[in-house]
Symmetry: C2
Subunit: 254 residues, 2 copies
């Protein structure tokens, strides 16, 4: 992991761009990271629109998390931003656009083609990023995963034992195979659903929530479309991570 | 409204039993009510098990609300506690027990017979109670309604303009007619659903949530049975009322 730039943001938050292999990413650490060896980490997922386009929303989430004492990090998804295009993904996205413009149903094969290459490539990249981040002296864990492509969150929750809690956004197409993986998820989950999300199948989201095996899982459904998540929902999600990643919670469980 | 007894609880909260006509109830006011003319009020709903039996949970909710500066009040439901039995309700409850023991389905007619007499009688009683409470110098409003028989909360949300926000528990049988009334609800709603509530039809609860016309409505679903509501869900509901009933929110809307 090589840091390629750094800048100080509000409240002493340090933002550092990095590259790991050929995957660019950003790490945000709170001012407290300089004096404490015990900073938890939240991995920030995002949709495949490119880090540059997603930056304003990501840095907002990073600053909120830093105020709670959390470090955050994100990486560019395969085929997004400055990373090389993935021809199979480009083809699947073109086909999705064609179907949506024609008002035709989006079949399981297209959903698989859109999502599974992202999951299969991004999850090992997230895990390598986690190896590198936890090797830094200022990052300690525990680790949470938040938002973005929900299938990536599901696979990470199953495959990566260092992730102890996940906040998922039920707002993207989910391959049928991921419902089976969802049954293997047992960590605490906080699932956000926009009740009138124009691009999302509400019943499929409810079925997915039902499929998770986590003993502690919460669904928060709010009105409004995909981007209309109310401020209070963000606050609720922040408290979920504070409950599960903060030192107080860990100490009280011992 | 005649106060029949009073006692001081923790943190200076004043608990007063009252009777209004032939309806007994309890009013809790925070210590701040003695010095401020602006104390909001939350009406505490509860299942028809009698106030004496429900007291431990009600006083817990009252003390939590008082810590946020809210007065709370509750009244005995028709046919519960020391109030005279209602023969039609007794008959419907006996029939419900028979059906459940026999493992037979509970038809719409039984649901109507169990719930509609409660709604038709309790809602005017709640409204008369509200008249009397708001006439007290130490209670100001705004007014919220929280929990209990959800159909009573729906009818109150439609019929009583002084109620500006409601927290509802999707955990009881709902007559079909109440789905139509739900479409007339427009105040902010915070709906709690226990995902694995043994006595509740999950899909009916989701349909009911969908039916409300409120622009601001939130569904919080948690794991566990009817009585397994986690502490964090109670905290979330408290914040909902703080957002909608506290002076800060009212001031910021002006």
């Amino acid at each position: 992991m090589h840091f390629t730039s750094e800048q100080r943001l509000d409240d002493g938050v340090l933002e550092r761009a990095f590259i790991l292999g050929d995957v660019p990413g950003i790490l945000w650490t709170p001012a407290s990271a300089a004096v404490s060896a015990s900073v938890p980490l939240i991995l920030l997922g995002h949709p495949p629109l490119g880090l540059a386009k997603m930056y304003p929303r990501l840095v907002g989430r990073a600053l909120s998390a830093a105020a709670e004492g959390f470090a955050t990090a994100t990486i560019e998804l395969p085929g997004s931003g400055d990373r090389p295009r993935v021809p199979a993904l480009e083809q699947a996205r073109a086909e999705l656009r064609r179907l949506m413009q024609a008002g035709e149903p989006v079949g399981d094969d297209i959903v698989d083609a859109l999502v599974m290459p992202l999951v299969d490539t991004a999850v090992p990249e997230w895990q390598a990023t986690l190896d590198a981040l936890l090797a830094l002296p200022e990052i300690d864990g525990p680790v949470g995963y938040s938002g973005g492509v929900i299938s990536i969150g599901i696979r990470l929750a199953v495959a990566e034992p260092r992730i102890v809690a996940a906040g998922l956004f039920a707002g993207s197409l989910v391959p049928r195979a991921m419902f089976e993986e969802a049954r293997q998820v047992t960590i605490p989950l906080h699932v956000l659903l926009q009740w009138d999300d124009e691009g999302n199948d509400r019943q499929a989201s409810l079925d997915l929530f039902d499929a998770f095996s986590s003993k502690e899982k919460t669904l928060h459904a709010n009105m409004g479309g995909h981007t209309g998540v109310p401020q209070s929902a963000g606050d609720d999600a922040a408290r979920f991570f504070t409950r599960h990643l903060s030192g107080e919670e860990r100490r009280s469980r011992r």
